[in-house]
């Protein structure tokens, strides 16, 4: 009874303070405090250690460590393979999203659920499975090697394969809802104005899903750059051949070169921040675009 009364009184003062305070409900201090403390201790403070640790090298030393031929090759390989994988996902992700939204066929529900497999399957499991598939004795690696003389495992192509795997859900899941929301009337209008199907798709539908496509592409690219588990097995870790940036950090750690590892990690982290910012801008664009077409 007393607690109810105080709660009532509290509510009244809270409502009186409404214009100034963050809101009327209780628990702002507690929930906000917990969030900020936890986030700071678990995420922000640990990340600050990277630039701090790298700073012990001095600017010249830092520059030397992050621009060795081995490091430059690792960035080049990481970005190159991630870009190719994200492009493959852009094309095939759009086709998968289109098929899942527009067509009816048996097994559609299962296929739709399967798209999330790369989120659910541990990356190490994906890594060894892809390697077993693409080595010379594997189901796919064998024929590819015998017929075309292509080697996938332990080459940059293998890295692309692993990055395609982990990137599949990003494009499909960002494009799918946008495609579902496209009003049929827009297509009706285009068709009634004499556009054939190809022109309707290219000039009317495609522009509405471009922001979502780009967002999915950027998300898949960002994920591929940092990927380790699924890539490490199929890449085989050969320096200057298949050593991507996360592998380089790992091998520096194994040589107890903590400062060198921190320097490379600082570069990777900065790139992640830039990508995060870019993705946020893209999503803002998508939101505005969505409103215009809704």
């Amino acid at each position: 009874m007393i607690s109810a009364l105080t709660a009532n009184a509290g509510a009244k003062t809270a409502i009186a303070r409404r214009r100034k305070g963050p809101g009327v409900l209780p628990g702002f201090g507690l929930s906000m405090g917990l969030t900020v403390v936890y986030l700071s201790l678990l995420v922000l403070l640990p990340l600050v250690i990277l630039p701090l640790k790298s700073a012990s090298l001095g600017w010249d030393g830092f520059w030397r460590v992050v621009t060795t031929p081995q490091a430059l090759y690792a960035y080049q390989l990481t970005f190159g393979t991630a870009l190719v994988a994200a492009l493959i996902n852009l094309v095939f992700g759009l086709v998968v999203a289109w098929v899942l939204v527009r067509y009816q066929f048996p097994g559609k529900k299962i296929l739709d659920a399967m798209v999330d497999l790369p989120f659910a399957l541990p990356t190490a499991v994906a890594g060894i499975a892809l390697t077993a598939l693409y080595v010379k004795t594997g189901w796919l690696g064998g024929p590819l090697n015998d017929w075309f003389d292509w080697q996938v495992a332990f080459t940059p192509i293998g890295i692309v394969v692993a990055m395609v795997f982990i990137g599949i859900p990003f494009v499909v899941r960002t494009v799918q809802p946008v495609l579902e929301d496209v009003e049929r009337e827009i297509e009706e209008a285009a068709a009634s104005l004499g556009a054939d199907r190809w022109n309707t798709v290219r000039r009317v539908l495609l522009p509405t899903i471009v922001p979502a496509l780009l967002t999915g592409f950027a998300l898949a690219f960002a994920r591929a750059i940092g990927e380790y588990g699924s890539v490490v097995f199929i890449a085989g870790n050969r320096p200057m051949v298949t050593e991507i940036a996360p592998l380089l950090i790992m091998s520096k750690l194994e040589q107890f070169d903590y400062v060198g590892a921190a320097a490379i990690a600082t570069v990777m982290l900065s790139i992640s921040f830039v990508l995060l910012l870019f993705i946020n801008l893209l999503q803002g664009w998508q939101l505005r675009r969505g409103r215009r077409f809704a």
Binding site: S31, P46, L50
Partner: protein
């Protein structure tokens, strides 16, 4: 491809051969990149028969890896549930400056490479860190021990629950909570009796994804664990060690456990999606039917 049906009139869809082609491309792509790797895990696991499979799962190192993985998952799930709900409550129920920044920061662990996530904890608590003498004096082991594995897992799984709840709670608004408040409910009563029943499916959804990632995390855990067999080896690290020792059948046997976990996760996720979408769909069904039957241009501001 007679199977490729569509509910659209002929002028609003592609020619039949295009539909067939697109479906074949999508099926081929998903078979190649999703289905074949999944099948490979189970085929390789049973290549040397049931006896080898069972032996791989029941040996002491595998058993301790299973226990550690379960323990780490339970701890990180419990902690992330508390902080995920707190973050979602603060962000969805109140207005304050810097909210967008906070949301971005919560998402941050998703865009950090797992290897970098593990590295920061090695740098913080490892043998070359400023904290090392203090940790030595008090006999505290964090890196290359279980606490490091938990910390790294917490880092990579932090966003799952919060980012699932934030949009859900923002969409639900806080009218119901305000009504409870005016009726005299306390803060905890509001949370347990009003908010929690509203967000339970979203919470479950986030918890499932968080759990799957916690059990399957590899990169971050690999950096901080030091691969001490029987002590800091999680299931994914055990898979890696067996694979490195060319014990492929055993490695895939352990991997098949994780693949099963992934399949169960997908099933539960879809059930939750179906359950949580149902009332919404029932509520909006008349509207959709209405909208699609009226072919009229909508005002641009709608």
């Amino acid at each position: 491809m007679n199977a490729v049906a569509t509910d659209r009139p002929v002028h609003l869809t592609e020619p039949r051969w295009v539909r067939g082609l697109l479906l074949m491309v999508a099926l081929g792509f998903l078979t190649l990149f999703l289905l074949l790797p999944l099948i490979t895990v189970f085929v390789e696991a049973f290549k040397k028969g049931w006896a080898v499979y069972l032996a791989a799962l029941t040996e002491p190192d595998a058993w301790s890896a299973i226990q550690l993985t379960l323990w780490v998952a339970v701890v990180s799930l419990a902690i992330n549930l508390i902080f995920g709900v707190a973050a979602a409550w603060a962000i969805a129920k109140f207005e304050f400056r810097g909210k967008q920044l906070l949301i971005t920061l919560i998402d941050l662990p998703f865009s950090v490479s797992p290897v970098v996530a593990g590295l920061v904890f090695v740098l913080l608590f490892g043998s070359q860190s400023w904290l090392w003498p203090f940790l030595q004096d008090h006999d505290l082991k964090i890196v290359y021990a279980v606490p490091g594995v938990v910390l790294a897992t917490l880092f990579v799984t932090f966003p799952f629950i919060a980012r699932e709840l934030i949009p859900l709670m923002q969409a639900q608004g806080s009218e119901e909570e305000q009504a409870a408040l005016t009726l005299g409910a306390s803060g905890w009563q509001i949370f347990w009796r009003v908010t929690l029943p509203n967000i339970k499916w979203g919470l479950l959804y986030g918890a499932i994804l968080c759990n799957a990632r916690a059990m399957g995390e590899f990169g971050a855990v690999s950096v901080v664990s030091g691969h001490v067999r029987g002590l800091t080896n999680t299931l994914t690290l055990h898979v890696e060690i067996l694979y490195g020792e060319y014990q492929f059948a055993a490695s895939f046997a352990v991997a098949s456990l994780l693949a099963l976990l992934a399949l169960v996760t997908l099933v539960i996720k879809n059930v939750v999606e179906w359950r949580s979408a149902r009332p919404e769909r029932v509520a909006s069904a008349p509207q959709t039917a209405f909208a699609s039957s009226v072919v009229a241009p909508r005002p641009a501001t709608a």
